[in-house]
């Protein structure tokens, strides 16, 4: 579903992504690990077309999104979900309206249908009681759950999560990681997660990629990483 080939990005003379290639299949979870500034967030922004690469190909369901205009990208993104670090919920809307927003924008659902859909997804993320709350009234973990619900409300085929466990305690980190895995399995979507969180990466990933200075050092199953003899990989995951 996602095919990235020889992706190169330079920002202000600094190589951020250096010949990145990988694939992610339907219902697969790829966790991209790396130090701060390694290029993880930049990679994710390329996958949703917020940044254009200097070179390389990014195919989403066989369509090279690097060649699309902004208007075509807007349409493409309706099939994709993006979970931001802090949720990025509209602070002038309550939880219900935040979740209803993509449906009101892109579907012809009436208000009853929208309410059913929102209730259903709120139940999935365990926040039925919070639908009338505003983002400022929610905890960090709750905001991420709502952010995940919003990312998936259009039944996205691609889910991209930027540092979903950052700023959370270990229990909440595990909960949100498990929720992402559950959502990914339920919707059968190709999921790419960037993270620093080694423990949760090993819990939920089908494959893990480690990036160092814009290059993929290793990509493989959690078991393959554990048995790697690469010094940086061992130092990073230990």
């Amino acid at each position: 579903m996602i095919h990235v080939s020889h992706l190169v990005k330079t920002i202000q003379g600094q190589m951020i992504l250096d010949d990145i290639s990988f694939d992610v299949a339907r219902a697969e979870i790829l966790v991209v690990l790396g130090e701060s500034g390694a290029g993880k967030s930049v990679l994710l922004k390329h996958l949703i077309g917020l940044l254009k690469p200097d070179k390389g190909v990014i195919e989403i369901e066989g369509r090279d999104i690097t060649k699309l205009s902004e208007e075509e990208l807007l349409r493409q993104r309706q099939q994709m979900g993006y979970l931001f670090q802090e949720g990025a919920l509209y602070d002038f809307m309550n939880v219900f309206d935040n979740l209803a927003f993509p449906l009101r924008e892109h579907t012809s659902f009436d208000s009853r249908m929208i309410a059913i859909k929102v209730e259903e997804i709120l139940k999935m993320v365990g926040l039925e009681a919070a639908k009338h709350k505003y983002p400022s009234e929610l905890s960090g973990g709750m905001r991420k759950r709502v952010g995940l619900a919003r990312a998936m409300i259009m039944d996205a085929k691609i889910l991209l999560c930027d540092e979903p466990t950052s700023g959370l305690d270990p229990i909440r980190s595990r909960d949100i990681s498990d929720l992402i895995r559950q959502v990914s399995r339920r919707y059968q979507c190709a999921t790419v997660i960037t993270s620093h969180d080694i423990d949760n990466a090993f819990r939920i990933a089908d494959r893990i990629a480690i990036i160092q200075q814009g290059k993929i050092v290793i990509i493989g199953t959690p078991q393959a990483l554990k048995s790697s003899e690469n010094h940086f990989v061992q130092e990073f995951i230990s």
Binding site: Q78, Y82, E86, A88, Y90, F101, E105, H106
Partner: protein, 256 residues
């Protein structure tokens, strides 16, 4: 020297970005991508926020003009011209400029702070990731609301300012009320109203453009929001004053 060169290129680059931003806003408007409900919502919020303060300052301005006019014109034995002085000063110059300045400080600051907060909290990026153009959803309604609200506020300012002058003219200068009203009506020609009022539309574009573009491009967390907001308000006010001079010269050249 290097610092000056860098600063120069930074300013040129920012101006280029701002012009591109305005073109993008206008492109959306001319393509009909206008959410009328959002425009009305923003107009209500911007208008309501500024209306009371515009009315208060305008009443005070009209009253002060009349007070000063009473003193100066009485020396010349021409105190009956207070009504003309107040009406023409307000309509031709003071109401459009004062209203634009107050609007920059209240509604302009609000626009930049709102968009700036959304920018630093990734809400603008999130809008794009949901397949919605943030220009259409967030910027165009605020920009058009400026265009809608500022002329209405200017009209309020002119009416309330004249009332302020009337209050002083009648109760301080002892000019009969009916005479004061007739003097005002007879003094004001269409060109007096038009020459001031037309400037308001330029000011609305300037304020909407600067405050939206600064908010939309805000970086640097909460500190950035404060910095960009104060810069936007200062730039709007300076540009309103500069453009007022240019527009006044052009208008006087053609319509005297």
């Amino acid at each position: 020297m290097k610092q000056i060169t860098n600063r120069f290129f930074l300013v040129v680059s920012q101006m280029g970005d701002a012009i591109y931003f305005l073109m993008d806003v206008l492109r959306n408007i001319f393509k009909g991508r206008v959410r009328f409900n959002e425009v009305l919502k923003q107009s209500y919020e911007q208008g309501w926020q500024s209306a009371v303060i515009v009315a208060l300052t305008s009443f005070a301005s009209g009253a002060v003009l009349a007070l000063q006019g009473h003193v100066v014109l009485s020396r010349l034995g021409a105190k009956e011209y207070i009504a003309q002085l107040v009406a023409l000063s307000l309509l031709r110059e003071m109401s459009p400029v004062f209203t634009a300045i107050i609007f920059s400080a209240k509604a302009g600051a609000r626009i930049t702070a709102e968009l700036g907060t959304m920018s630093v909290n990734d809400q603008i990026l999130a809008t794009r990731t949901m397949g919605v153009d943030p220009m259409e959803f967030l910027v165009v309604p605020r920009f058009l609301a400026c265009f809608l609200v500022l002329p209405i506020l200017t009209l309020i300012s002119e009416i309330v300012g004249i009332l302020g002058g009337y209050f002083i003219g009648v109760y301080q200068a002892n000019i009969p009320g009916v005479f004061y009203i007739n003097q005002t009506i007879n003094a004001v020609r269409f060109v007096d109203f038009f020459s001031g009022f037309i400037k308001v539309f330029f000011f609305a574009i300037l304020i909407g453009w600067i405050c939206c573009s600064r908010g939309f491009t805000t970086k640097g967390g909460s500190l950035g929001v404060g910095k960009y907001t104060t810069e936007a308000v200062a730039q709007s006010i300076i540009l309103v004053i500069i453009f007022n001079t240019i527009l006044t010269k052009i208008i006087l050249t053609f319509w005297g």
